[in-house]
Symmetry: none
Subunit: 257 residues, 2 copies
Protein backbone atom coordinates (compact mmCIF):
# COMPACT_ATOMS: atom_id res chain seq x y z
CA UNK A 1 0.00 0.00 0.00
CA UNK A 2 0.96 3.61 -0.37
CA UNK A 3 3.41 2.89 -3.05
CA UNK A 4 5.84 5.57 -4.00
CA UNK A 5 3.68 7.03 -6.71
CA UNK A 6 0.83 8.12 -4.50
CA UNK A 7 2.71 10.05 -1.88
CA UNK A 8 2.41 13.30 -3.78
CA UNK A 9 -0.68 15.07 -4.90
CA UNK A 10 -1.99 14.41 -8.25
CA UNK A 11 1.03 15.23 -10.39
CA UNK A 12 0.25 12.87 -13.14
CA UNK A 13 2.77 11.41 -15.50
CA UNK A 14 4.93 13.97 -17.19
CA UNK A 15 5.70 12.44 -20.52
CA UNK A 16 9.38 12.38 -21.31
CA UNK A 17 8.91 14.45 -24.43
CA UNK A 18 7.21 17.14 -22.37
CA UNK A 19 10.20 17.33 -20.10
CA UNK A 20 12.48 17.73 -23.07
CA UNK A 21 10.16 20.34 -24.57
CA UNK A 22 10.23 22.33 -21.36
CA UNK A 23 14.00 22.16 -21.14
CA UNK A 24 14.62 23.21 -24.71
CA UNK A 25 11.94 25.84 -24.59
CA UNK A 26 13.53 27.40 -21.54
CA UNK A 27 16.86 27.54 -23.29
CA UNK A 28 15.34 29.09 -26.37
CA UNK A 29 13.36 31.71 -24.48
CA UNK A 30 16.46 32.53 -22.49
CA UNK A 31 18.13 33.20 -25.80
CA UNK A 32 20.92 30.70 -25.26
CA UNK A 33 20.68 29.78 -28.91
CA UNK A 34 20.23 32.92 -30.99
CA UNK A 35 17.50 32.93 -33.66
CA UNK A 36 18.63 31.56 -36.97
CA UNK A 37 21.18 29.28 -35.43
CA UNK A 38 21.12 25.53 -35.56
CA UNK A 39 20.20 23.38 -32.63
CA UNK A 40 22.27 20.35 -31.74
CA UNK A 41 21.49 17.38 -33.94
CA UNK A 42 18.90 14.88 -32.86
CA UNK A 43 21.68 12.48 -32.08
CA UNK A 44 23.42 14.93 -29.81
CA UNK A 45 20.18 15.81 -28.05
CA UNK A 46 19.58 12.10 -27.62
CA UNK A 47 22.86 11.89 -25.75
CA UNK A 48 22.53 15.02 -23.65
CA UNK A 49 19.03 14.19 -22.50
CA UNK A 50 19.59 10.48 -22.20
CA UNK A 51 16.44 9.57 -24.10
CA UNK A 52 15.75 7.90 -27.39
CA UNK A 53 15.54 9.71 -30.67
CA UNK A 54 11.79 9.09 -30.72
CA UNK A 55 11.33 11.32 -27.72
CA UNK A 56 13.63 13.98 -29.11
CA UNK A 57 11.75 13.99 -32.38
CA UNK A 58 8.40 14.31 -30.64
CA UNK A 59 9.71 17.21 -28.60
CA UNK A 60 11.08 18.96 -31.65
CA UNK A 61 7.79 18.41 -33.44
CA UNK A 62 5.95 20.14 -30.64
CA UNK A 63 8.39 23.03 -30.60
CA UNK A 64 7.99 23.30 -34.35
CA UNK A 65 4.23 23.34 -33.94
CA UNK A 66 4.64 26.23 -31.54
CA UNK A 67 6.74 28.01 -34.12
CA UNK A 68 9.85 28.06 -31.99
CA UNK A 69 11.99 25.97 -34.30
CA UNK A 70 11.99 24.86 -37.90
CA UNK A 71 13.44 21.62 -39.24
CA UNK A 72 15.08 21.46 -42.64
CA UNK A 73 15.73 17.99 -43.90
CA UNK A 74 19.37 17.35 -44.47
CA UNK A 75 20.41 20.58 -42.84
CA UNK A 76 19.24 20.62 -39.25
CA UNK A 77 16.79 22.21 -36.86
CA UNK A 78 16.96 25.98 -36.63
CA UNK A 79 15.66 28.54 -34.17
CA UNK A 80 13.02 30.84 -35.60
CA UNK A 81 12.96 34.46 -34.66
CA UNK A 82 10.40 34.92 -31.99
CA UNK A 83 8.47 37.69 -30.42
CA UNK A 84 9.19 36.57 -26.91
CA UNK A 85 12.93 36.54 -27.42
CA UNK A 86 13.01 40.00 -28.89
CA UNK A 87 10.60 41.35 -26.36
CA UNK A 88 12.22 39.44 -23.54
CA UNK A 89 15.52 41.02 -24.45
CA UNK A 90 13.91 44.43 -24.26
CA UNK A 91 12.34 43.73 -20.91
CA UNK A 92 15.57 42.25 -19.63
CA UNK A 93 17.51 45.41 -20.23
CA UNK A 94 15.21 47.63 -18.33
CA UNK A 95 13.90 45.04 -15.94
CA UNK A 96 15.72 46.37 -12.95
CA UNK A 97 13.82 49.53 -12.30
CA UNK A 98 10.61 49.40 -10.36
CA UNK A 99 8.66 51.82 -12.48
CA UNK A 100 9.52 49.73 -15.51
CA UNK A 101 8.54 46.60 -13.69
CA UNK A 102 5.12 48.13 -13.20
CA UNK A 103 4.90 48.85 -16.90
CA UNK A 104 5.77 45.27 -17.72
CA UNK A 105 3.21 44.13 -15.22
CA UNK A 106 0.68 46.19 -17.08
CA UNK A 107 1.48 44.34 -20.29
CA UNK A 108 1.10 41.10 -18.47
CA UNK A 109 -2.28 42.30 -17.34
CA UNK A 110 -3.40 42.70 -20.92
CA UNK A 111 -2.18 39.25 -21.81
CA UNK A 112 -3.76 37.54 -18.86
CA UNK A 113 -7.12 39.21 -19.16
CA UNK A 114 -7.47 38.04 -22.71
CA UNK A 115 -6.12 34.64 -21.70
CA UNK A 116 -8.93 34.18 -19.22
CA UNK A 117 -11.51 35.06 -21.82
CA UNK A 118 -10.10 32.67 -24.38
CA UNK A 119 -9.65 29.93 -21.80
CA UNK A 120 -13.33 30.18 -20.92
CA UNK A 121 -14.22 29.47 -24.53
CA UNK A 122 -11.54 27.07 -25.69
CA UNK A 123 -10.47 25.04 -22.69
CA UNK A 124 -10.85 21.30 -22.82
CA UNK A 125 -11.52 18.97 -19.94
CA UNK A 126 -7.90 18.30 -19.11
CA UNK A 127 -7.03 21.96 -19.18
CA UNK A 128 -9.92 22.86 -16.94
CA UNK A 129 -8.81 20.13 -14.58
CA UNK A 130 -5.29 21.56 -14.55
CA UNK A 131 -6.63 24.96 -13.55
CA UNK A 132 -8.73 23.46 -10.78
CA UNK A 133 -5.77 21.43 -9.67
CA UNK A 134 -3.63 24.52 -9.28
CA UNK A 135 -6.45 26.17 -7.38
CA UNK A 136 -6.73 23.30 -4.91
CA UNK A 137 -2.99 23.11 -4.57
CA UNK A 138 -3.03 26.74 -3.54
CA UNK A 139 -5.69 25.91 -1.00
CA UNK A 140 -3.70 23.01 0.37
CA UNK A 141 -0.52 25.04 0.71
CA UNK A 142 -2.48 27.80 2.35
CA UNK A 143 -3.87 25.47 4.97
CA UNK A 144 -0.44 23.98 5.50
CA UNK A 145 1.02 27.45 5.94
CA UNK A 146 3.45 26.85 3.15
CA UNK A 147 4.50 29.31 0.43
CA UNK A 148 1.76 29.55 -2.16
CA UNK A 149 3.80 31.27 -4.83
CA UNK A 150 4.35 28.26 -7.07
CA UNK A 151 0.69 27.31 -7.02
CA UNK A 152 -0.27 30.88 -7.85
CA UNK A 153 2.03 30.86 -10.83
CA UNK A 154 0.76 27.45 -11.88
CA UNK A 155 -2.81 28.74 -11.77
CA UNK A 156 -2.10 31.58 -14.13
CA UNK A 157 0.03 29.39 -16.34
CA UNK A 158 -2.70 26.78 -16.60
CA UNK A 159 -5.12 29.45 -17.75
CA UNK A 160 -2.71 30.68 -20.39
CA UNK A 161 -2.23 27.12 -21.50
CA UNK A 162 -5.97 26.65 -21.81
CA UNK A 163 -6.12 29.25 -24.56
CA UNK A 164 -4.52 26.68 -26.86
CA UNK A 165 -2.43 29.53 -28.18
CA UNK A 166 1.20 28.76 -27.29
CA UNK A 167 2.18 32.38 -27.62
CA UNK A 168 0.19 33.33 -24.57
CA UNK A 169 2.16 30.83 -22.54
CA UNK A 170 5.42 32.14 -23.87
CA UNK A 171 4.47 35.69 -23.16
CA UNK A 172 3.53 34.80 -19.64
CA UNK A 173 6.80 32.96 -19.16
CA UNK A 174 8.87 35.84 -20.39
CA UNK A 175 6.91 38.52 -18.59
CA UNK A 176 6.30 36.51 -15.47
CA UNK A 177 9.94 35.91 -14.77
CA UNK A 178 10.66 39.60 -15.03
CA UNK A 179 7.62 41.04 -13.37
CA UNK A 180 7.10 38.66 -10.49
CA UNK A 181 10.41 38.38 -8.71
CA UNK A 182 8.60 38.93 -5.43
CA UNK A 183 9.58 35.97 -3.34
CA UNK A 184 8.79 35.60 0.29
CA UNK A 185 12.34 35.92 1.49
CA UNK A 186 12.59 39.69 1.28
CA UNK A 187 12.46 41.29 4.72
CA UNK A 188 10.07 43.98 3.64
CA UNK A 189 7.48 41.65 2.21
CA UNK A 190 7.14 38.80 4.64
CA UNK A 191 4.38 40.24 6.73
CA UNK A 192 2.41 41.15 3.64
CA UNK A 193 2.85 38.16 1.38
CA UNK A 194 2.62 35.56 4.04
CA UNK A 195 -0.33 37.07 5.79
CA UNK A 196 -3.25 34.74 5.74
CA UNK A 197 -5.67 37.48 4.86
CA UNK A 198 -3.63 38.40 1.85
CA UNK A 199 -3.47 34.91 0.46
CA UNK A 200 -7.07 34.21 1.35
CA UNK A 201 -8.04 37.26 -0.67
CA UNK A 202 -6.03 36.00 -3.62
CA UNK A 203 -7.76 32.69 -3.43
CA UNK A 204 -11.19 34.30 -3.33
CA UNK A 205 -10.37 36.15 -6.52
CA UNK A 206 -9.01 32.97 -8.06
CA UNK A 207 -12.28 31.25 -7.31
CA UNK A 208 -14.27 33.86 -9.20
CA UNK A 209 -11.99 33.42 -12.18
CA UNK A 210 -12.22 29.66 -12.01
CA UNK A 211 -15.99 29.73 -11.85
CA UNK A 212 -16.25 32.01 -14.83
CA UNK A 213 -13.93 29.83 -16.89
CA UNK A 214 -15.77 26.68 -15.88
CA UNK A 215 -19.03 28.32 -16.85
CA UNK A 216 -17.58 29.24 -20.23
CA UNK A 217 -18.39 32.90 -19.69
CA UNK A 218 -15.62 34.79 -21.46
CA UNK A 219 -16.76 38.23 -20.39
CA UNK A 220 -17.04 37.29 -16.74
CA UNK A 221 -13.66 35.58 -16.87
CA UNK A 222 -12.05 38.68 -18.27
CA UNK A 223 -13.67 40.89 -15.66
CA UNK A 224 -12.66 38.58 -12.83
CA UNK A 225 -9.10 38.45 -14.08
CA UNK A 226 -9.07 42.20 -14.49
CA UNK A 227 -10.09 42.87 -10.92
CA UNK A 228 -7.66 40.26 -9.68
CA UNK A 229 -4.72 41.75 -11.52
CA UNK A 230 -5.53 45.38 -10.88
CA UNK A 231 -5.69 44.55 -7.21
CA UNK A 232 -2.41 42.70 -7.48
CA UNK A 233 -1.00 45.74 -9.19
CA UNK A 234 -2.18 47.86 -6.30
CA UNK A 235 -0.71 45.45 -3.79
CA UNK A 236 2.56 45.50 -5.69
CA UNK A 237 2.69 49.27 -5.51
CA UNK A 238 2.06 49.16 -1.80
CA UNK A 239 4.83 46.68 -1.36
CA UNK A 240 7.22 48.85 -3.28
CA UNK A 241 6.39 51.70 -0.96
CA UNK A 242 6.87 49.45 2.01
CA UNK A 243 10.24 48.40 0.73
CA UNK A 244 11.26 51.94 0.12
CA UNK A 245 10.20 52.86 3.62
CA UNK A 246 12.16 49.90 4.94
CA UNK A 247 15.32 50.90 3.16
CA UNK A 248 14.87 54.51 4.12
CA UNK A 249 14.62 53.50 7.73
CA UNK A 250 17.66 51.26 7.53
CA UNK A 251 19.64 53.99 5.87
CA UNK A 252 18.56 56.39 8.56
CA UNK A 253 19.57 53.90 11.25
CA UNK A 254 22.94 53.41 9.60
CA UNK A 255 23.42 57.14 9.46
CA UNK A 256 22.69 57.69 13.14
CA UNK A 257 24.92 54.98 14.46
Amino acid sequence: MADSTTDLRVERKPKLSETVVAAIRRQLLAGEIPPGNKLPTEGQLTETFGVSRTVIREALAKLAADGLVEARQGAGVFVTEHISTTFGALAADMGSKDSIALNVLEVRLAIEIESAGLAAIRRNAAQEAAIQEAFFEFERLLLASQPTGPADLAFHRAIASATNNPFYVEMLDVLGRRAIPCDVTSPWSTELVQSDDYQRGLQREHLVILDAISAGDAGAAREAMRTHLTRSQQRYRERLQARQAYYAKSVKAAATE
Copy 2:
Protein backbone atom coordinates in the same frame (compact mmCIF):
# COMPACT_ATOMS: atom_id res chain seq x y z
CA MET B 1 17.75 21.78 -64.72
CA ALA B 2 16.20 21.46 -61.36
CA ASP B 3 13.48 19.02 -62.19
CA SER B 4 12.52 18.67 -58.58
CA THR B 5 8.92 17.81 -58.03
CA THR B 6 8.11 21.07 -56.30
CA ASP B 7 8.85 23.81 -58.74
CA LEU B 8 5.92 25.85 -57.51
CA ARG B 9 6.26 28.07 -54.53
CA VAL B 10 3.14 27.01 -52.71
CA GLU B 11 4.58 24.28 -50.49
CA ARG B 12 8.01 22.83 -50.67
CA LYS B 13 7.87 19.54 -48.84
CA PRO B 14 4.62 18.21 -47.50
CA LYS B 15 5.83 15.91 -44.80
CA LEU B 16 3.87 12.71 -44.54
CA SER B 17 2.80 13.49 -41.01
CA GLU B 18 1.29 16.78 -42.17
CA THR B 19 -0.80 14.95 -44.69
CA VAL B 20 -2.05 12.61 -42.02
CA VAL B 21 -2.69 15.55 -39.68
CA ALA B 22 -4.78 17.29 -42.31
CA ALA B 23 -6.78 14.16 -43.03
CA ILE B 24 -7.52 13.34 -39.41
CA ARG B 25 -8.25 16.94 -38.57
CA ARG B 26 -10.76 17.16 -41.36
CA GLN B 27 -12.49 14.06 -40.09
CA LEU B 28 -12.57 15.39 -36.55
CA LEU B 29 -13.93 18.79 -37.52
CA ALA B 30 -16.51 17.09 -39.69
CA GLY B 31 -17.64 15.33 -36.56
CA GLU B 32 -17.10 11.85 -37.94
CA ILE B 33 -15.74 10.89 -34.56
CA PRO B 34 -17.78 12.52 -31.81
CA PRO B 35 -15.93 14.26 -28.98
CA GLY B 36 -15.00 11.92 -26.18
CA ASN B 37 -14.80 8.92 -28.46
CA LYS B 38 -11.72 6.92 -29.18
CA LEU B 39 -9.80 7.17 -32.40
CA PRO B 40 -8.60 4.02 -34.17
CA THR B 41 -5.45 2.63 -32.63
CA GLU B 42 -2.08 3.63 -33.95
CA GLY B 43 -1.77 0.28 -35.62
CA GLN B 44 -5.07 0.65 -37.44
CA LEU B 45 -4.19 4.16 -38.55
CA THR B 46 -0.89 2.80 -39.77
CA GLU B 47 -2.77 0.43 -42.01
CA THR B 48 -5.43 2.81 -43.26
CA PHE B 49 -2.94 5.53 -44.17
CA GLY B 50 -0.26 3.19 -45.39
CA VAL B 51 2.51 4.87 -43.42
CA SER B 52 4.67 3.82 -40.52
CA ARG B 53 3.73 4.18 -36.92
CA THR B 54 6.37 6.88 -36.57
CA VAL B 55 4.39 9.13 -38.88
CA ILE B 56 1.13 8.33 -37.15
CA ARG B 57 2.58 9.13 -33.77
CA GLU B 58 3.98 12.43 -34.96
CA ALA B 59 0.65 13.35 -36.46
CA LEU B 60 -1.19 12.48 -33.26
CA ALA B 61 1.35 14.48 -31.26
CA LYS B 62 0.66 17.49 -33.42
CA LEU B 63 -3.07 17.10 -33.07
CA ALA B 64 -2.62 16.78 -29.33
CA ALA B 65 -0.50 19.93 -29.33
CA ASP B 66 -3.40 21.71 -31.00
CA GLY B 67 -5.71 20.37 -28.33
CA LEU B 68 -7.86 18.40 -30.72
CA VAL B 69 -7.12 14.98 -29.26
CA GLU B 70 -5.82 13.57 -26.03
CA ALA B 71 -3.80 10.38 -25.60
CA ARG B 72 -4.25 8.24 -22.51
CA GLN B 73 -1.60 5.63 -22.11
CA GLY B 74 -3.01 2.17 -22.13
CA ALA B 75 -6.45 3.34 -23.17
CA GLY B 76 -6.20 5.07 -26.51
CA VAL B 77 -6.43 8.44 -28.18
CA PHE B 78 -9.62 10.37 -27.60
CA VAL B 79 -11.26 13.37 -29.19
CA THR B 80 -11.28 16.46 -26.98
CA GLU B 81 -14.65 17.68 -25.78
CA HIS B 82 -14.72 21.43 -26.35
CA ILE B 83 -13.44 21.92 -29.84
CA SER B 84 -14.25 25.48 -30.68
CA THR B 85 -15.11 25.46 -34.34
CA THR B 86 -13.78 28.95 -34.87
CA PHE B 87 -10.38 27.99 -33.63
CA GLY B 88 -10.10 24.53 -35.01
CA ALA B 89 -11.59 25.27 -38.36
CA LEU B 90 -9.15 27.95 -39.29
CA ALA B 91 -6.17 25.81 -38.53
CA ALA B 92 -7.74 23.01 -40.49
CA ASP B 93 -6.43 23.40 -43.95
CA MET B 94 -3.71 25.96 -43.58
CA GLY B 95 -0.09 25.30 -42.94
CA SER B 96 1.53 25.95 -39.63
CA LYS B 97 2.91 29.29 -40.69
CA ASP B 98 -0.47 30.83 -41.19
CA SER B 99 -1.83 29.46 -38.00
CA ILE B 100 1.15 30.92 -36.19
CA ALA B 101 0.44 34.29 -37.74
CA LEU B 102 -3.11 34.09 -36.47
CA ASN B 103 -1.89 33.24 -33.01
CA VAL B 104 0.39 36.24 -33.00
CA LEU B 105 -2.47 38.37 -34.17
CA GLU B 106 -4.43 37.16 -31.20
CA VAL B 107 -1.72 38.34 -28.84
CA ARG B 108 -1.77 41.69 -30.55
CA LEU B 109 -5.47 41.77 -29.95
CA ALA B 110 -4.95 41.48 -26.22
CA ILE B 111 -2.38 44.25 -26.24
CA GLU B 112 -4.41 46.63 -28.29
CA ILE B 113 -7.63 46.18 -26.39
CA GLU B 114 -5.94 47.09 -23.16
CA SER B 115 -4.13 49.90 -24.93
CA ALA B 116 -7.41 51.48 -25.91
CA GLY B 117 -8.70 51.30 -22.37
CA LEU B 118 -5.57 52.84 -20.90
CA ALA B 119 -5.45 55.48 -23.59
CA ALA B 120 -8.96 56.55 -22.71
CA ILE B 121 -7.86 57.20 -19.15
CA ARG B 122 -4.31 58.42 -19.46
CA ARG B 123 -4.07 60.28 -22.74
CA ASN B 124 -3.06 63.88 -22.71
CA ALA B 125 -4.15 66.52 -25.13
CA ALA B 126 -1.26 66.07 -27.53
CA GLN B 127 -1.72 62.33 -27.65
CA GLU B 128 -5.43 62.65 -28.29
CA ALA B 129 -4.63 65.06 -31.07
CA ALA B 130 -2.20 62.56 -32.56
CA ILE B 131 -4.88 59.91 -32.63
CA GLN B 132 -7.33 62.26 -34.29
CA GLU B 133 -4.64 63.30 -36.73
CA ALA B 134 -4.11 59.69 -37.82
CA PHE B 135 -7.86 59.29 -38.13
CA PHE B 136 -8.21 62.28 -40.42
CA GLU B 137 -5.18 61.24 -42.42
CA PHE B 138 -6.90 57.94 -43.06
CA GLU B 139 -9.97 59.82 -44.19
CA ARG B 140 -7.92 62.02 -46.50
CA LEU B 141 -6.13 59.06 -48.08
CA LEU B 142 -9.42 57.27 -48.49
CA LEU B 143 -10.96 60.17 -50.37
CA ALA B 144 -7.83 60.46 -52.47
CA SER B 145 -8.00 56.75 -53.29
CA GLN B 146 -4.53 56.20 -51.95
CA PRO B 147 -3.31 53.30 -49.82
CA THR B 148 -4.49 53.78 -46.27
CA GLY B 149 -2.24 51.21 -44.66
CA PRO B 150 0.25 53.64 -43.13
CA ALA B 151 -2.47 55.78 -41.60
CA ASP B 152 -4.14 52.70 -40.17
CA LEU B 153 -0.91 51.67 -38.53
CA ALA B 154 -0.34 55.19 -37.26
CA PHE B 155 -3.78 55.23 -35.68
CA HIS B 156 -3.13 52.11 -33.68
CA ARG B 157 0.35 53.25 -32.83
CA ALA B 158 -0.91 56.58 -31.56
CA ILE B 159 -3.32 54.80 -29.26
CA ALA B 160 -0.56 52.60 -27.90
CA SER B 161 1.55 55.67 -27.38
CA ALA B 162 -1.27 57.34 -25.47
CA THR B 163 -1.06 54.69 -22.78
CA ASN B 164 2.14 56.37 -21.62
CA ASN B 165 3.55 52.88 -21.22
CA PRO B 166 6.42 52.51 -23.69
CA PHE B 167 6.18 48.76 -23.59
CA TYR B 168 2.82 48.81 -25.32
CA VAL B 169 4.40 50.61 -28.24
CA GLU B 170 7.30 48.21 -28.30
CA MET B 171 4.93 45.29 -28.19
CA LEU B 172 2.86 46.64 -31.01
CA ASP B 173 5.93 47.23 -33.15
CA VAL B 174 7.27 43.76 -32.57
CA LEU B 175 3.93 42.06 -33.13
CA GLY B 176 2.85 44.29 -35.96
CA ARG B 177 5.84 43.55 -38.10
CA ARG B 178 5.16 39.89 -37.81
CA ALA B 179 1.42 39.69 -37.98
CA ILE B 180 0.75 42.17 -40.78
CA PRO B 181 2.88 41.08 -43.68
CA CYS B 182 -0.17 41.39 -45.89
CA ASP B 183 0.85 43.99 -48.39
CA VAL B 184 -1.36 45.19 -51.13
CA THR B 185 0.74 43.65 -53.85
CA SER B 186 -0.50 40.11 -53.48
CA PRO B 187 -2.80 39.11 -56.26
CA TRP B 188 -5.29 37.49 -53.96
CA SER B 189 -5.84 40.47 -51.72
CA THR B 190 -5.99 43.54 -53.87
CA GLU B 191 -9.65 43.54 -54.52
CA LEU B 192 -10.38 43.08 -50.83
CA VAL B 193 -7.97 45.45 -49.18
CA GLN B 194 -8.40 48.23 -51.63
CA SER B 195 -12.13 48.02 -51.83
CA ASP B 196 -13.77 51.20 -50.72
CA ASP B 197 -16.34 49.41 -48.64
CA TYR B 198 -13.66 47.59 -46.77
CA GLN B 199 -11.76 50.71 -45.85
CA ARG B 200 -14.92 52.64 -45.10
CA GLY B 201 -15.86 49.93 -42.65
CA LEU B 202 -12.49 50.17 -40.98
CA GLN B 203 -12.89 53.89 -40.61
CA ARG B 204 -16.33 53.54 -39.08
CA GLU B 205 -14.88 51.23 -36.46
CA HIS B 206 -12.01 53.62 -35.91
CA LEU B 207 -14.47 56.40 -35.22
CA VAL B 208 -16.17 54.44 -32.46
CA ILE B 209 -12.81 53.84 -30.85
CA LEU B 210 -11.82 57.47 -31.18
CA ASP B 211 -15.05 58.67 -29.63
CA ALA B 212 -14.71 56.35 -26.68
CA ILE B 213 -11.15 57.44 -26.04
CA SER B 214 -12.07 61.08 -26.34
CA ALA B 215 -14.90 60.54 -23.90
CA GLY B 216 -12.51 58.92 -21.47
CA ASP B 217 -14.65 55.79 -21.33
CA ALA B 218 -12.18 52.94 -20.87
CA GLY B 219 -14.76 50.20 -21.05
CA ALA B 220 -16.29 51.50 -24.25
CA ALA B 221 -12.85 51.99 -25.78
CA ARG B 222 -11.93 48.40 -25.02
CA GLU B 223 -15.19 47.11 -26.43
CA ALA B 224 -14.81 49.16 -29.59
CA MET B 225 -11.27 47.99 -30.07
CA ARG B 226 -12.33 44.42 -29.44
CA THR B 227 -14.98 44.44 -32.11
CA HIS B 228 -12.63 46.19 -34.50
CA LEU B 229 -9.89 43.64 -34.05
CA THR B 230 -12.07 40.57 -33.98
CA ARG B 231 -13.55 41.71 -37.25
CA SER B 232 -10.06 42.30 -38.60
CA GLN B 233 -9.20 38.80 -37.47
CA GLN B 234 -12.18 37.48 -39.37
CA ARG B 235 -11.20 39.45 -42.45
CA TYR B 236 -7.68 38.08 -42.18
CA ARG B 237 -8.99 34.54 -42.08
CA GLU B 238 -11.10 35.13 -45.12
CA ARG B 239 -8.09 36.48 -46.92
CA LEU B 240 -6.08 33.40 -46.04
CA GLN B 241 -8.81 31.23 -47.47
CA ALA B 242 -8.87 33.34 -50.57
CA ARG B 243 -5.15 32.95 -50.95
CA GLN B 244 -5.43 29.23 -50.48
CA ALA B 245 -8.07 29.03 -53.13
CA TYR B 246 -5.85 31.08 -55.41
CA TYR B 247 -2.86 28.81 -54.97
CA ALA B 248 -4.99 25.70 -55.23
CA LYS B 249 -6.24 26.94 -58.54
CA SER B 250 -2.75 27.72 -59.81
CA VAL B 251 -1.50 24.33 -58.72
CA LYS B 252 -4.39 22.71 -60.49
CA ALA B 253 -3.62 24.67 -63.60
CA ALA B 254 0.02 23.66 -63.41
CA ALA B 255 -0.96 20.04 -63.03
CA THR B 256 -3.19 19.97 -66.08
CA GLU B 257 -0.67 21.46 -68.46
